[in-house]
Amino acid sequence: MLAMLEGAVGAAVLALTALGLSLVFGVMRVVNVAHGEFYMLGAVLAWFIATSLGGHPAIGFLAALIIAPLVAGIIAVAADWLVLKHLDYDPESTIVATIGLLYIMQQSALMLYGPEARPVEPPFNSRIALPWVEWGENGLALFYPWGLGTTTYKLFVIAAAATILVAFWLFLSRSRFGLIMRATQLDSETALAFAIPVEKVYALVFGLGAALAAMAAVLIVPIQQAHYLMGGEPLLLSFIVVIIGGLGSIRGTIFAALLIGMSDGIISVFFSPTLAKIIATLLVALVLVFRPQGLFGKKPA
């Protein structure tokens, strides 16, 4: 039960991160290896904002939730403008270039932020003890065991991530920009012929993907800590999610994120985390070998 709740927090944040990666891949056909570094950037920025503002932690947190994704998005747009555009979005060269971006961002963070892990205070945090049912002396009884409980902040993370996901879904399916994005994804040349500024759409999508990762990081950073190497784990997990969910399929991505996030929380109770990771990575590689369209994706026509 507790493992499931921990899993749900992980799954919620993972869904946001993986959605960004999936969006970029779906629309632009670019595998953004630097995606995890935008996540790291979000967390590090949250720390900078929270410490420089001071006052009640909620003020810093709210500011970070708005500013960090914005800054990450702007950096991503700049990277797209300066680098990816000039590569004509060729899938293989963009991977090499984003590996370069990964090291540039990670090492810049090391220089500017330092090698320490730093905590950010959550905006609110009270413990909720969860009731547990057990056969006691007087028959069935409810009691509140020590250690079994969660915090309001963790529940907030789940709710916030769900809200953002729904908002994003509406944005993609109802708004004009969502329509333009889907048109570009379907056929960029035809979209260009219909006067859609494909390059601008690409830049914005790349920025949006990075902003989603940064937002996920701001949500998680009061639970974990901000560290310059923290981008590796979410990158790998997002890869797994996006591959299992079918490359470029948004619905599959969210479903797979819930699946992986929840099972990650539960599996790690039974197995050592390293063994769980070995099995997961190997399985994903084999999925990609034998079912390249993903477990939920459709076969290409």
Binding site: E92, I95, V96, Q106, T281, L282, V284, A285, V289, P292
Partner: protein, 314 residues
Amino acid sequence: MSTTTRSAALHLGLIALIAVLGLILPAYHQGNLARILVLATYAIGYNVLFGYAGLLSLGHAMFFGAGMYGLGLAMHHGDVSALPAFVIGIACAAALSAVVAMLALRTIGVAFMIVTLMFSQTAFLTVLYFGTWTRGDEGFVLAQASRSIAGLDLSNPDIRFYAALILFSAALLITARMMQVRFGHVLIAVRENEERTRMLGYDVFRHKFLAVVISGTISGAAGAAYALLFGYVGATFTSVQYSIFPLLWVLLGGAGTTIGPFVGALFMFYLIDYTSGLTSAYMLIAGVVLVLLTLFARAGIMGEVRKRWLRWLP
């Protein structure tokens, strides 16, 4: 001069030049150059697959690691002497690359890159998981007494240098020869146009399979030699970073040129050596070089030289 004699002159000339440098360089740079020669061998292995067959792998660290741990574990836990352990290391890399090739070659393009990355990550985690034997991140040191072949102490700087040079020369000459015979020409044909090569009646899968195995085996030989010559085996050498390095060296030196991997490894080694003296964020330079290369010099150093001046360059 025919192309074959020119290329023989170039390669033998380079080897002779390095041999002379080994005599006259100060100890510090001689040590560096020995390291560069082993790493360049790794890059030569990578270049077979990336430069000639056109397959971009992001997981070569697992082959380097297979050679390194094949030799290291055999020597450390099995009390095997250096030469048979070296053969075991190479055999491990060959076996692993055959398995990976069978699976990964079912995919192409971006999927191939990610599958190799995932397999390599699995290998890295496996090394960590069996920490009792591999000592994980910390790694283990090979006893100096065991590091000798035919009475030659490989921890002696001079002997180490020439052992590295022999390894490098073997890899260089084998790949140079490979690209002169039919097999190499078919590989390049696969790189340029896979469909057309298949239509002309060549067995594309067999050629790609052999390319992965040759590439993985050379990389593994480099890994085994690295452990043997420098006496240290650690999990870092199987991490993602060590999959990116050969890509970086080959891109910088010139993919699909025989001496490009050496040139790239040489430049990058000294660039990183210099920057790590200035800041702990020395990988920054690797990132910047990668981005600049993809933007402005897709052919790398030797590739540009070939395009502009020396058309015959192998």
